[in-house]
Amino acid sequence: MYSASDLRKGLKVLIDGAPYVIIEFDFSKPGKGQALYRCKLRNMITGNQLVQTYRSNDKFGKPALEERKMQFLYNQDDEYHFMDTENFDQIFITKEQLGDNVYFLQDNMELHVLLFDDKPIDVTLPIFVNLLVTVAEPWAKGDTSGTDTKPITVETGYVLNVPPFVVEGDKIQIDTRTGAYVTRVKE
C-alpha cells in the first residue's frame, strides 16, 4: 500500500480497481491546516484523466503492473500477436488498444508490453523505426511554392508530412513517440 505521503509525479496507483499514473502533483498545506496532496491522474487503460485532492490518511493500492520484453509476430485481422522473448508465451493485443502504434510495428520488432493483472494494456516501441515510402508525389525540383512539407504514405498505411525531397522508394526514420518524420535513411 502507498500512503498519501508517497504520492509524486510518475507514481502508479490503483484506484477503483484501475491503474492510474500521476501526471501532475503538488503538495500544499494552508497555514496550520491539513496537508493536501493534489494530483492529476491518468487512467492507464482508458486514458481518462482525473483531478483529485488526497489527505494524509488516504491509502492506495499498488497496481499489479509488469513490463515484459516481447517480439511482434503477426496480425490476424484486428488481433496483433506478440511473443515473450524469455518464456515464449504468446499474447495478442487488439488494434484498438494499440492505437497509432499499429503503424510502426514491423515483423520481429522487439518492444516492451505493459501488463496489468496479466492483461496487456500498453506497448512501448523502439523510439525510432525505419519505414518504406510507398506513396509520394514526385519532387518537382525548383518548386518554390513555399510549402515546406508534403503528405506521403509509408508501407504500413501511415500518412505523415515530410520534406518535399522524399520520394517513393525512400526509407525514412520516424519517431514513434510523436509520429513525426526524423530523417531519410540510406540502407
Binding site: D26, S28, G31, K32, G33, L36, R38
Partner: protein
C-alpha cells in the same frame, strides 16, 4: 541552489530584516532548536532528533521570553516539518518570528506593511508582483469564502472541507494586485490565538498573502493558561495515531503564559518571502541548498 549573485541578494535581504527590527528596538533572540516537547498541533509532524524534536517553530520559547519581560523580540531560525515538500514547501525552512508585548494582531499587520516597504526600499534588486503604495486588502475569512467559494466558511468547516476549499477556491484570488490580510479565523483553527472580543466564534488570527501565496501567520496571543490547556487537550485528542509522540502538557509554558497580559506574534516564511522579492518561482530556487543539492 543559489548562485553567487543570489547568495548576495539573500544576505542583503537578511541584513535589511535585522536592521528593520533593530531600528524599532526589537531584541534578536535565539532559542533551542532541539526541544523535548513541542506544542501539540494536529497538522504538524515533527522530526525526531534523538530524545528531542527539531523545532517546528520557535514560538513556545519566544513566548516564554515575553513572559520573562522582553517587550519586543525577533528571531530568524531554521524550522523543520516532516513530509512537507512541494513547490512552496521544504522540510527544512527559515522562519522569521517576531513578538510584541501589549499588542494585538492589527499591530502585526502594520509591522508587515512597514517591513515590506522597508525591504523594497533598502534591498537593491528586490521586486514584488504587487503594489504596496495603495493600502493592503483586509478580508475576513467569512467574507473571503462568501466572495470566492461555492460554500460558506462555516459549511466548509462542518464538512471538513475548509482547508481544501481555501487552497483550491480562495487562495488563488488573494494578494493579486495588492497584498491581502485574510483575518478572523474560525476559533477551532487557531489553537493559540485569542477569541475576538465581541465575536467569540472567531479568533484574532490572520494570514498574509502575496500573489496567492501565504507568507505569514500571526495572531493576538491567547494568554489564559486554563483555556490554553483545554485547547491543547482538544488538539491532542484530534491527533489519533500520534506517531509515538507523548501527549504531555508544556507546563512551564502554561505557567509563563499566565504572566503575559497581552501580546501578539507572527511567523513569516523567509524562503518564500525571498523567493517573491527576488522574482523566483520555486522555493528550491530561493534557498542556498535545495534538498536535491545535498549529498546522500
Amino acid at each position: 541552489m543559489l548562485d553567487l549573485e543570489g547568495l548576495h541578494l539573500r544576505a542583503a535581504f537578511f541584513r535589511a530584516i535585522r536592521r528593520f527590527f533593530e531600528e524599532q528596538d526589537f531584541l534578536e533572540v535565539d532559542t533551542p532548536i532541539r526541544q523535548p516537547l513541542l506544542i501539540p498541533e494536529q497538522n504538524i509532524v515533527p522530526i525526531r532528533s534523538g530524545t528531542h524534536y527539531l523545532q517546528s517553530s520557535p514560538e513556545l520559547y519566544m513566548k516564554r521570553l515575553l513572559a520573562g519581560g522582553c517587550e519586543r523580540i525577533f528571531q530568524i531560525c531554521h524550522c523543520f516539518r516532516q513530509g512537507e515538500s512541494g513547490r512552496l514547501h521544504l522540510e527544512e525552512f527559515v522562519m522569521l518570528e517576531w513578538y510584541r508585548l501589549d499588542a494585538d494582531y492589527s499591530d502585526l499587520m502594520r509591522d508587515c506593511e512597514e517591513l515590506f516597504s522597508f525591504l523594497m526600499r533598502e534591498v537593491a534588486g528586490s521586486v514584488l508582483p504587487v503594489r504596496l503604495d495603495s493600502g493592503w486588502e483586509r478580508l475576513t475569512v467569512a467574507d473571503a469564502f462568501t466572495r470566492y467559494c461555492s460554500v460558506s466558511a462555516a459549511e466548509a468547516l462542518e464538512t471538513d472541507m475548509f482547508d481544501q476549499l481555501l487552497v483550491e477556491q480562495v487562495e488563488p484570488y488573494l494578494g493579486q494586485s495588492i497584498p491581502t490580510f485574510l483575518y478572523d479565523y474560525p476559533l477551532e483553527l487557531a489553537s493559540l490565538a485569542r477569541p475576538k472580543s465581541g465575536q467569540l466564534d472567531v479568533a484574532e488570527r490572520f494570514e498574509l498573502y502575496v500573489s496567492g501565496i501565504e507568507l505569514a501567520n500571526g495572531f493576538s496571543e491567547l494568554t489564559d493558561p486554563d483555556l490554553q490547556r483545554k485547547r491543547f487537550e482538544k488538539e491532542y485528542a484530534k491527533m489519533e495515531d500520534e506517531r509515538g509522540r507523548e501527549k504531555k502538557m508544556p507546563e512551564f509554558f502554561l505557567e509563563d503564559l499566565g504572566r503575559i497580559e497581552q501580546a501578539a506574534g507572527i511567523a513569516m516564511g523567509l524562503d518564500r518571502l525571498f523567493m517573491q522579492l527576488s522574482g523566483r518561482k520555486k522555493l528550491e530556487d530561493a534557498v542556498s541548498f535545495a534538498p536535491e543539492d545535498l549529498d546522500s
